[in-house]
Symmetry: C2
Subunit: 217 residues, 2 copies
Amino acid sequence: MPVSLPSTEPSGDSVSRILAAAKDLFARHGYDHVSMNAVAGAAGVSKANVFHHFKSKDELYIRSLSQACEASRSSLDAMEEGDGDAWQRIRRFVDEHLDHMLSHSRDSRLILREVVENCPGTGQRLAQEVFRDNFNRLVAIIAECQREGALRPDLDPVFISTLLLGANVFFFQSQEVMRHLDGVDFADEPSRYGAMFVDILMRGAASGPVANEGEKP
Amino acid sequence: MPVSLPSTEPSGDSVSRILAAAKDLFARHGYDHVSMNAVAGAAGVSKANVFHHFKSKDELYIRSLSQACEASRSSLDAMEEGDGDAWQRIRRFVDEHLDHMLSHSRDSRLILREVVENCPGTGQRLAQEVFRDNFNRLVAIIAECQREGALRPDLDPVFISTLLLGANVFFFQSQEVMRHLDGVDFADEPSRYGAMFVDILMRGAASGPVANEGEKP
DNA sequence: GTCTATATCGGGATAGAC
DNA sequence: GTCTATCCCGATATAGAC
């Protein structure tokens, strides 16, 4: 990663600095609690300069969002090239995905906010353009595991993918609450949480001899 | 439930009307996008009157939150008195809980926002006071199922409860996004989603003959 | 491109009459 | 308890000089 030299470009790269500051502030405090003044201050430029480069606060926000999304995309790559059997790869995905969310919690929260706040025009459309890519990749990988015989053929790979994501996202967003609930001793152990989850899933979704008492295949 | 007569109390019950309007607006648009002016207008009173009954916007918000929580509490009762075997009760809980969230989506979203927006002082403490009750009840029920022999004894009932809630919450909050993802044909069928989930869980968590290839008990 | 200064607007909260 | 009118502040956005 190239380090910018302040001497050569003391203010030339204002856009990057503004964008970085904005992403950080938006992720930490949310759209409404971040003023253009604060962004300007954090970026070391004047407020008018921010408006010169971004014609409105909304535009700056959208740009910040998409930048946060790009960072999120890179985490899936690690899994795809990994080896090991199907359940090992799935396990690794759960681990790394959760890890990535937690270590990039600001970006994750920034995106998550847009999901929860589902205004029809703003978040949904953008979230859709972002999620579709990664989601389809995950589904494809799960389907591949199924083709290898690791999952029962009657299961919907889309559903399994949803379950994986849901378990992780819920852990991420509820961690702070879980810490203050009785008996949740895994609140600070994401990898143990992932292990327990994949264990349940594996026993429940794997093909082979299954404890299906009262079920009719 | 006593019906208030508008003739006897045309404006006497301003507090209730303000609270109702506030809860509705906060749930739909979020704290920051609701002005006291808007609340006053929706409640049919003046802005000064709102400030007369609630000394600040924060107080009004907190009151709205706790009211939304009370409504959420009643849904758990239905399950506790239900009969049937363990997995039937669990299945019914998943169904009714998800149903409740969807039919009370505004209340749910209001609470969910506080979880995602985890500021240390505001949401967390209140969420904790609210969730603890219901969560402990759910854990107790799961533990009871385990005592009946429906779940493997080595499983943590707290973890299973978390999984149940997580799957439902994720469905609720991601429904709008899921609708626009490829292949998610269960996005509008919460009960099918619940059925698939409980099916996986049952096979994976049930005691009895289990497909544990490579596991050492 | 970058700044200082300013216009303009809306929201929270208060004063004081009725 | 309820209202009208008002204060005060901060936020978005713009104007115009350098």
